[in-house]
């Protein structure tokens, strides 16, 4: 006997939302991806827990595939970040934003190569 499934689910939910917070509030493209990874991890936790609850391997298989997908996600995501960094010399999400309505004094001091 370990713990009720509910507790695993709760743990998953908490981790998921932490990842979500990271994605939503960190002003850093890499941290956005970090947040996404944490969210995927949370889903994997719930899958494994649920697999145990039903005494199935299915949940574990899911978790395994999540790890694989996470790898793909990270590679593409980070490649994009690198790409953006090369273009903009910044990984602030502000730098890829389109609207001029939120002026950023610091960003303005840095020369942004919007259109080389």
């Amino acid at each position: 006997m370990i713990v009720p499934y509910t507790h695993v689910m709760l743990l998953g939910a908490i981790v998921f939302l932490m990842g979500m917070i990271c994605t939503l509030t960190r002003r850093n493209l890499i941290m956005i991806i970090v947040g996404l990874e944490i969210m995927l991890n949370a889903a994997a936790i719930v899958f494994v827990g649920a697999g145990l609850q039903f005494q199935q391997i299915e949940g574990q298989v899911m978790a395994l595939f999540i790890v694989a997908v996470a790898a793909a996600e990270v590679s593409v995501g980070l490649a994009m970040v690198v790409c953006i960094y090369r273009q903009r010399h910044s990984i602030d999400p502000q730098c890829i934003e389109n609207s001029p309505r939120v002026p950023d004094p610091k960003a303005a001091s840095e020369p942004l190569t919007l259109n080389p």
């Binding site: 006997m1 370990i2 009720p4 890499i30 944490i38 145990l52 490649a79």
Partner: protein, 174 residues
């Protein structure tokens, strides 16, 4: 409360704490290292929950390969001074509000769910052999598909890497 349960709560606390530290670190290297801790703790949790093979993959792939990739990138990117400034407070409040309400709702749900849900799970473990057999027997298609996914990711990363370079060399829109 069994000893398994105690382990569970310890690992859960570890996961949450390290994840919490990871998402709040200003320095990205620190953040990634905390993340590694969190993922390793998750691997332990998988082991506890009867998924040793997944736990191992978690350590190798996630905590290992993926995080190393992160570290590489973090090292490669020279953080501009003043980068990663916080958002305005309103943004934070909104984000925490949304997530907080949801957490609260999840807690409420957890505490008020019926006795059925409170029944602890029996411990069990899937042997790697059984796991592998199940995987290739039942999810053969998914395995093939994930290979395509990785291929796509590979091509994508390749393209992005090349395109980014070309971009730098000043390729103008026609």
């Amino acid at each position: 409360m069994t000893v398994y349960a105690v382990f569970f709560y310890i690992i859960a606390a570890l996961i949450i704490a390290s994840a919490g530290l990871a998402i709040t670190r200003k320095h990205m290297v620190h953040a990634v290292l905390y993340l590694v801790v969190s993922f390793i703790a998750t691997a332990l949790l998988f082991y506890l929950l009867g998924a040793p093979l997944v736990g191992i993959f978690q350590v190798i792939l996630y905590a290992g390969a993926i995080m190393v990739l992160f570290l590489f990138i973090v090292m490669m990117i020279r953080m501009a001074p003043g980068a990663d400034r916080p958002f305005p407070a309103g943004h934070f409040i909104a984000a925490f509000g949304v997530c907080g309400v949801y957490i609260a709702a999840a807690l409420v749900l957890a505490f008020f769910s019926g006795p059925e849900a409170g029944r602890p799970m029996a411990a069990a473990a899937a042997s790697p052999a059984a796991f592998g057999f199940y995987l290739f027997d039942q999810h053969w298609l998914a395995v093939e598909m994930i290979s395509i996914l990785l291929l796509v990711a590979l091509i994508g990363a390749l393209h992005l890497g090349r395109a980014g370079r070309r971009k730098q060399s000043g390729n103008k829109e026609p």
